[in-house]
Symmetry: C2
């Protein structure tokens, strides 16, 4: 089938999916979860083809690890779907209600977006996660995964569709585009009237391509050049714990810290001790002159270092003489994701919260908490780094729109 | 100055505008309102040049009327700004607050979007309105008006900037791009990192161009192929009043009705009488076979008629045999703006409210109420016909984003 035929099917089914009751949606998701476990061996066989191709192609160990599926990972995927079932269904909720002087009664009601498009790379678990989140919110979903995971994705979608069919639910609620070419991706980005929103998940390059080429609305996700700022008055041990956690607990994720900003008044008491703690974790340090003098073995930081999302055991360090300078530096280099201040100074904490332009601004905590699960949303479709529609961790609500329903008794406009 | 230099100034001032107190913002808007009235003669002189050029160029009477400024219209613009002063400032409001089991306290706080770009056509009043709405919400604004209104816009922006300067407020809070070429418009649509959202206001052609070319997030506004559906059981007089109002009270606006859908059971009692009422207003009718037989003087409707936003004294008529068929027809042809059912049947009203995919869905009222003022928002930046971020009439809230502020006491991720 051509992309346009697939997209037409998704568009044509969207009102059917939107009209499903919460009970039906939950029961369909449960049966999909069971079917994924029951058909684990088929999925693992398909995944083995992807893994073999990936090894031949020389994919990195990190990518191969993300690609790999086994019994326990499939159980994890199924359990993730079961968690989605437990969440409240936002669809149909009335979020505002007011009456006008002319007697019109206006209600704002949450509705599905319609058709959600997702372009992602080599993580087959995304396929089931995204289906669960979109189906729970009454959206049809059209997926374009990376070529490296094509066989795995096909197997997963086959199981999902067959479970939907068995239960009498609309099978076109999920569509996988099996042409993984870039041309098809670009065509997908311009399907106005078919796809209502496009969410790219993956590398900075993928996201940039979507932002530049899409004519359908996009929710930009992902890249995080996150900073930890240690203020003039801060608990040194807390600062070190937070920095080491934010930098090294998991290096390849968007909420990991990439840059440290330090008030010059605390530099001498913080940096040598921090240097030791980071070295123990194998972290390489690029620092400005003042910080370099206090951190043995560190190298000179360039402007480029301050702008870089390393996603590696590397951190940059910048010293400043005030919280204002820290805010200015961070707002210049950050990507609108997550920023933290470590301080005992309430006034400076307020200034930081007020002045920093990012989805999540922390006082005395690690940036690693920017995550749908950690926020208590139960699940996550991604982390938005743009300001429209949704910002920060996106749960089910980010997959909803609203409409106004207006009740009258014959009102006309004078 | 080049576009990039102008956009850089807007971007550089955004945090200053964002940090202004409600009091400062209101006082600045009041002084702008006063300055516009005090400098009315300068603005009218500049407008006279636009009017003369427009007449030479042969602009339509309708466009010339929208372009024209006089003392009373300038007073209207100033009063509009004073109304914005009276509205609650959403910035800084906490819309959600919750605590996680690990002790993190999370607050969701409304913040400005940053730099709002607006591309519009020959209505100089938009210049001041948009400034007022954006400034009230702590946003910097960068405006690109049409060439037909250039002198008027320059004069208005000059007065605004000079009033801001006098009061010690940031003059770059408003920027007018005085190069009205299409190339510059296209360049503006791709200023990622400078402009945070782009709102096009004007013709369908302008909006289409923005949607197709922009890489920065867009809020699509405008076109409305609005329907009135008269159900099998409806009050005939109410139906006629609503249809005549929605079609003829103001023909050139997006919330005017363009198409009528009628249940076949009520067609014989409704249509001849309605025909007479519409004819009296000079409305031309394109109808399907069943309706045509009941509406003397009407012509055959084509598929194209059902898809057309006439913005004129013309309406199309379609008969259906059920509310379900009406919903399907409307969802096929509507533009997601405003749709109404006239009915005494509560069940069908519910089906219609549930099934119709549009920003505003009415029961027994005219579609003409889709408007920020009519909804009680006090002002309006436009009417969104997309589903992301804002849908329907957009007031101050549509010009806000949010950030999460998170308070901890040393939490790190396990």
């Amino acid at each position: 089938m051509t992309l346009l035929e697939l997209a037409t099917k998704a568009r044509d089914v969207k009102y059917t999916v939107a009209a499903l009751s919460t009970e039906d949606k939950n029961s369909a998701i449960m049966s999909v979860a069971d079917a994924l476990e029951a058909n684990a061996s088929d999925i693992i066989s398909a995944n083995a083809i992807d893994m073999k191709n990936g090894e031949t192609k020389g994919l990195s160990q990190g990518l191969l690890d993300r690609l790999k599926l086994d019994e326990s990972r499939i159980k994890g995927i199924a359990d993730g779907l079961r968690e989605i079932v437990k969440l409240d269904d936002p669809i149909g909720q009335i979020t505002e209600e007011f009456e006008r002087p002319n007697g019109l009664k206006i209600k704002k009601r949450l509705v599905p977006i319609g058709v959600v498009g997702v372009i992602y790379e080599a993580r087959p678990n995304v396929t089931a996660d995204v289906f669960g989140l979109c189906f729970k919110t009454g959206n049809a979903v059209i997926l374009k995964g990376g070529s490296d995971a094509l066989e795995s994705n096909k197997a997963i979608v086959k199981v999902i569709k067959s479970a939907l069919e068995k239960g009498g639910y609309p099978v076109d609620a999920i569509t996988l585009i099996d042409d993984t070419s870039r041309e098809t991706a670009k065509e997908m980005m311009r399907l106005n009237g078919y796809i209502d929103v496009l969410i790219p998940r993956g590398s900075a390059g993928l996201i940039k391509s979507v932002v530049e080429n899409a004519s359908i609305p996009v929710i930009e996700t992902g890249s995080g050049n996150c900073h930890i700022y240690v203020d003039h008055d801060a608990d040194i041990d807390m600062a070190i714990d937070i920095i080491v956690n934010a930098k090294t607990q998991r290096i390849g994720v968007c909420n990991a810290a990439e840059s440290l900003v330090v008030h010059e008044d605390i530099a001498a008491s913080l940096l040598p001790k921090l240097n030791k703690a980071l070295r123990e974790k194998g972290v390489q340090i690029f620092a400005d002159a003042k910080a370099k003098a206090l951190m043995e073995g560190s190298e000179d930081a360039t402007e480029e270092d301050f702008a870089k999302e390393y996603l590696d055991y590397i951190i940059s360090v910048k010293t400043v003489s005030s919280v204002e300078e820290a805010i200015e530096h961070i707002n210049k280099y950050n990507t609108g994701h997550s920023e933290a201040i470590v301080t005992n100074d309430e006034k400076n904490a307020d200034k930081f919260l007020e002045g920093i332009d990012a989805a999540c601004v922390y006082v005395n905590a690690s940036t690693r908490f920017t995550d749908g699960f950690e926020f208590g949303f139960g699940a996550e479709i991604g982390i938005s780094t743009q300001k429209l529609h949704a910002r920060g961790p996106m749960g089910l609500l980010a997959l909803t729109s609203y409409k106004y329903t207006i009740f009258g008794n014959g009102q006309i406009r004078k």
